[in-house]
Amino acid sequence: MSKIVYEKSKGLSDVQLSYCPGCTHGIIHKLIAESLVELDLLDRTIAISPVGCSVMAYDFFNCDGIQASHGRAPAVACGLKRTNPDKIVFTYQGDGDLAAIGTAEIIHAAHRGDNVTVIFVNNAIYGMTGGQMAPTTLIDMKTSTSPLGRNEAMMGKPLLVSELLAQIPSATYIERVASHDVPNLNKAKRAIKKAFEYQAAGKGFSMVEILGTCPIGWNMTPADAMGFVKDTMMPYFPLGVYKDEGGNA
């Protein structure tokens, strides 16, 4: 007699992921797919993919998908949710998409209290276009547009998105988690599930920020990149629940 400990989620399609070897996007996709299957929400979910490495995420989730223009996924989600309030709508956005060009849209989705879920993957770089500096790039980190390292005087300090959105009165649930080892993946999955449960219960805007890696953009092995998340990113981007008003709604 044998019991399946782990197998590929039914929430994922058969398409091979387009991500580079060892990229945490694949791991985070699995958490979302597993959560939607376990909550029995998959068949009424619409995934909204951004512009960035996860631009083709619509190919990877086993549900309907929309591709949004750069940074505008939360506005697209608003339009879809307002016309389909009984559906589950989530956006999947990177730090370039959400924290740079899409800051107006994300802030106003939270501000309106749109009953949608945002999965925000923060890997401190623009991966798709070849490793440029992002608003979340750490000080002194070298990228293709900060070749001498991010300079605070010229480029400011990295943007703290969860802390920012937690200030918005109408946001319901904001948590930052990480994806660099199995215990943290379990926590990340609990956060994702909670966000979808809140949405299903009509509790309003939720965002889960997930610290991820970009081994190619960071010029590291995938395993070293996991260590970088733990040792270098987490001290600047503290994990935790920044807002949770789901219980009072």
């Binding site: 580079c20 070897p21 798709m128 190619i216």
Partner: protein
């Protein structure tokens, strides 16, 4: 006289660099030359190629993926995609360390070079591209061994990669010996 060369292989095999070195040699020799890469987000870790066209007159389209004079193929997808695009009588240089089944065409001049294995023996898999240069030195009159030495110095002298010049030259030499 116009020579249309296509370099193709996995990202990381030095395809684009090899094309640039040969384009620079052509420039040094006063030729018209273009270098054009395939580009895109998924290229990393995937298959990359670049076209180099060398001519005595103005070059039109810089893309040489048809009517190819010389195909420098470093992996199997390169053969699958481009073998048929070489003109009859053209040349195919084959990285036989990876492309073990050879090619089907009989109307081209094929040269098998055990490039990846030779590069490993020289000390770095990443110089497989330089081993492939043996094809050009053995089979064409485009440039000489001295031209290669000169372009390597031009590119790497005074950079942090200067110490790699002897390794690269050794790779070319080993490639020459293996293809005599």
């Amino acid at each position: 006289m116009t020579t249309r060369i296509l370099f193709s292989g996995f990202g990381g095999q030095g395809i684009l660099t090899l094309g640039q070195l040969i384009a620079t040699i052509a420039l040094n020799k006063g030729k018209e030359v273009t270098w054009m890469p395939s580009y895109g987000a998924e290229m990393r870790g995937g298959t990359a190629n670049c076209s180099v066209i060398i001519s005595d007159k103005m070059i039109g389209s810089p893309i040489a993926n048809t009517n190819i004079d010389i195909l420098c193929a470093m992996n199997i997808p390169s053969i699958v995609k481009f073998e048929d695009k070489v003109r009859p009588g053209g040349q195919i240089f084959i990285n036989s360390s990876i492309i073990k089944d050879g090619i089907a065409r009989t109307d081209v001049d094929a040269l098998h070079i055990d490039a990846s294995n030779i590069a490993s023996k020289v000390g770095d898999l990443r110089v497989a591209n330089m081993v492939m240069l043996a094809g050009f030195l053995q089979k064409t009159n485009l440039f000489t061994f001295e031209d290669v030495e000169e372009v390597l110095k031009q590119r790497f002298s005074g950079t942090r990669n200067e110490h790699l010049i002897p390794l690269n030259i050794e790779a070319v030499k080993q490639g020459m010996e293996a293809t005599v």
